[in-house]
């Protein structure tokens, strides 16, 4: 079970969180071409190594956060608020 540092509450057990998918996706504007929407809705990378993810602190402060997790080791490398960049930009 992971230990996830919530930017607001501090480090908490994974059971308090809900996984929310890839944090690097950018929602296209409503009038964007269908290709852009297709990419946003369906296409996902499956990186081997650091992966920026969204998590919801669902049983805690109910805030969404960004978490950088190494998919090989489960090491949690960093976390940030959704409006903040994780250190070093995108992996």
């Amino acid at each position: 079970m992971l230990l996830i540092p919530c930017p607001w509450c501090g480090s908490r057990n994974q059971v308090e969180f809900t996984y929310g998918g890839d944090a690097t996706l950018k929602r296209p504007p409503p009038d964007a071409p269908v290709e852009a929407w297709y990419e946003f809705v369906y296409l996902r990378d499956n990186p081997c190594g650091p992966h920026d993810e969204l998590w919801l602190h669902s049983a805690g402060c109910r805030r969404w956060l960004k978490v950088r997790r190494d998919t090989r080791t489960h090491d949690i490398l960093a976390s940030a608020r959704p409006d903040q960049a994780l250190p070093g930009g995108e992996p």
């Binding site: 607001w8 509450c9 908490r12 059971v15 308090e16 805690g60 402060c61 805030r63």
Partner: protein, 202 residues
Amino acid sequence: MSEADPTTIGSTAPGHYGSASTALFLREATIATAWNVHGDAGSASLRAEVQRIARLVLPMAANTTSKGEGVTALWLGPQSWLLVAADAAALGDFAGARDAVNAAGGALFDVSASRIAYAVDGAPAAAIMAAGCPLDFHPRHFGAGQCRQSLYGRVPALFYRHREPPDCTMLVARSFAHDVWRSLCTAAAPCGYTVRAAAPFG
């Protein structure tokens, strides 16, 4: 001591249950009013409005609480607080307060009936909490006046220490009340526990 059957683990009737030791006490802590404040923690007008309504200063630090006259404010998140009063008179009319908070750029939700509070008092309290909750209840990490949200078993729960440890109060959604109470009692049965009559929150 009442004549409760010590083997009916999960009963809410006052009395002693489980093993013989009498170091642990469970009871409901009654809540009359609970309002959920949302808003920008940096907004002076919001803080002033809450101060006018609840006569307390909202706690800004994570996992902390503040107290006014008959009202406790618990930090729930960077934009969310819970005002709790055991006496309905302490917080007054909801609609007026909501409009005032809305005008100050925040939100106010009436959740008075949403949660039930259970006070767990006595030396084994931390161990009983730890039977269901992954939080660290050591006094160095969770002192008096602090609160945290987490889980008890799989049920979301808000933990609050209004006194020095080991005593602890937990608030859970009312639909889960029977379930959480039974979990608490099952966890407490090996060391024995006494159910006391409900008393006001705080």
